[in-house]
Amino acid sequence: MATMELEKTLPSAENNVEIMLDQVGMVYQNADGKDVTALTSVSLDIQKGEFVSLLGPSGCGKTTLLRIIADLLQPTSGTVQIGGETPRAARLKQRYGMVFQSAVLYDWRTVRKNVMLPLEIMKVPKADRIERADKMLKLVGLTDFADHYPRQLSGGMQQRVGIARALAIRPEILLMDEPFSALDEFTREKLHVDLLRIWRKTNKTIIFVTHNIQESVFLSDRVCVLSPHPGRLSAVVNIDLPRPRTMEMKETPEFTALVAKVRNSFEGV
Amino acid sequence: MKRLKRFFRSGTMVTLVWVLGIAAIWEGFAYYVAQTKRTPLNVLPHLWQIIGSFFSDKMITGQMTMIQLIGNSCAETLSRAAIGFLIGTVLGYLLALLMNLSGIVEKIAFPYLMIIQMIPILGMAPIILAITGDINTSRIVIAAILTFYPVSTNTLAGFKAVEKEKHELMYSYAASKFQHYIKTIIPSSIPYFFTGLKISAPMAITASILVDTLQGGNGLGCMLSQSLKGGMSRLVFWDIVLISAVIGILSFYLMGLLEKLICPYKRKS
């Protein structure tokens, strides 16, 4: 057994805390009346502009936690604050951008129009909308497919449209649920670099769900490891690799060591 | 107490409230009609008149009370509908099989299936009578024709909806055509088949009633028609409208029940 590693952050007193989770718990009520405990007592503070990964095996509650932060789910215990407000207030202020585990595209809209959808809702002027959509499509390498319909795209391409759509609204808080798991390694690595570039430029707060250890280490400031049955926060690992991150770093001993550290914090569960 | 609460939130309660609501609206109009029309029975009788007439021991015809009359007619009509439904189902299923086995059969038969559906069946009835020579046989034939279409098209859709990978799986096992149908195609088409049955079961009954009206004899439709033509109390008409609705809905639920018995895996969670 590897040594257990727990670096839980204490409630921070700094005032640039953006997201504050306090003893958050979630119990689902199944159709047959049975209770399923998905999360117990998760406490975590995330700084403004921080890049945090949620890492854990399938079914440990990553998506649940993300949905609670996004106000798509009400926790059954504990509280969540976003910039001092409720998640609901933050949502109504349109502070969130979300990338779902599946692409969630609208069949009847072309790729470009899918990306433009949130801009329409947020009443961005038409010319702006098109410009912003096309810029995002270029970023994810889909310029040539702007006028295609989702059905004409491969799974990986669809997922990239979802990412472009989330970035197009320039959200302050970007919530990403395993956004790259459907992609091949190369597209994925390119998008890692692009995502980090955008993040650096715009100072977003990003919560990134993944079950890929390397990915989490490469991208994040902190990796939060969740463990299952019931889901809880079992370790938080600070990633002190320098920024900007480059592909070459992946071959450094520091990187390998951090990956091993995260892995061990896992196996210690 | 808790049970009572549950009941008030249940689907049964919703349906109950709806039924009561509609009954109230009906009674409202019936009251208005009773005040303003000289022959309210011909326009809209009170619900209690309809239901009461079922249990009245007054002779409706020379020999029978209402409940006897309706009971006898129901038995006649339903048995014809059931036989027609069975024949239509079997033939519809076989045709779907044939169409799936041979593209040529499908190309030929499918447009005609569509067209048969367009033919005004009441207009065709005398011709079918001329061909069969017997009114009861022709009633069964018509019920069968109307059952045929939904069963055939839905089952065929079910055959076609089998995923490509399932076909390939069978292919990779070098399964025989027979095994392919028995293990994959037929079982996976069952829900579609039942969709067809759920449409055609009430249709067979409706059709049977309508075709009854074409020539004298016994059956719900004959009585309904006689009642409309002033041959007997107008309450017979209203009773039959009510009864046919109830039977039609029951036949729908019966098919649903059968489906649940045959495919338990569809039960949720």
Binding site: - | T39, Q63, Q215, Q226, M232, S233
Partner: protein
Amino acid sequence: SESAPGSAATGSSAASSSAGGESSEEIIKAASAAGKIGNWGLGNEYEIQALLTKYGLPTDYITQDFTMDQFDSDAVTLASAMTYNELGLVVNGYDGGYNYGDSVATIDMNDEGVAMLEDNLFCSKAFAQSNPNTVKAFVSASMKGWYYACEHPDEAAQIVFEAGSSVSADHQAYMAKEVAKLVTTDMKGNTVSADKVGQMQDEAMQQTLDLAKKYIILEDASAKEKLQSLTLDDIRSTDYLTYDKDKDGAVEKSAVSVQLKWLPQAQFMGYYVAKAKGYYDEVGLDVTIVSGGGDISETTAVYNGTVDFGVTWVSNLINADAGGMDLLEVAQVYQRSGLVLVYKKK
């Protein structure tokens, strides 16, 4: 009964055929102008159309349903009614009746000279040729039933009621009496002896055929041609009115069926009486009575062999023969038209 010429068919003592003041012509013209003349259509409209033509009016009519609600609510002001059925309901107060009493009056097709013969008995020519004894036996036993029924309308009504009719017993009794009048009075109002029931009067037959040729409108060119070429001999035969078992021989087919023109009611009391009294048994027939009124009309059912005999109106038979059905009238039960137009007196 004591029915006098001219008022024979308007049997209800209440409804009279001459309303005070207004003439038939004025009433018809007014109703036509308002578009409120009613009929059931489906082959029952020719007499009305002949009447309208007689007064130089367009032949449009409103389709009546089988109640008299339209008349009651003035949606139709000049409504078709059979003396024995709808008129009874309009006038009388019993169950199902509208109780107008003598506040309504009628216009009689017989008086207007546009009457066509109604309920008869027919089969297909082919059937008559190959089963002459069956036809004769059936006709004579049926006419015996009619004779008895006309003599005893109350008993006949009771028999019909018990045979499964669902019309109220009161109305059935009324109907039986009125039907008896149609069987025993001719178009001119002369009494016909009930023992001659079934006879075909050439003059009335010819009038019916002539009107049919004028008012049956056909879109089918060859049927049109056939219609115009029809003669009485094409549509009726008097050869089957009497049956002598010893001379003619036994029936060829013992189980036969007859389809009525309408629902089981006293309109067809002769057949019910013949069955109940065993007249059919006497001639060796086992008879099934099939009620009518559905869209598979009696002409169709007889033509395609679903049933052996039918009761229809002569105009319907002519219509079917024009279409090529080759049907043959073997007895004429009603000697005058039972159709009237009823209206509310001012």
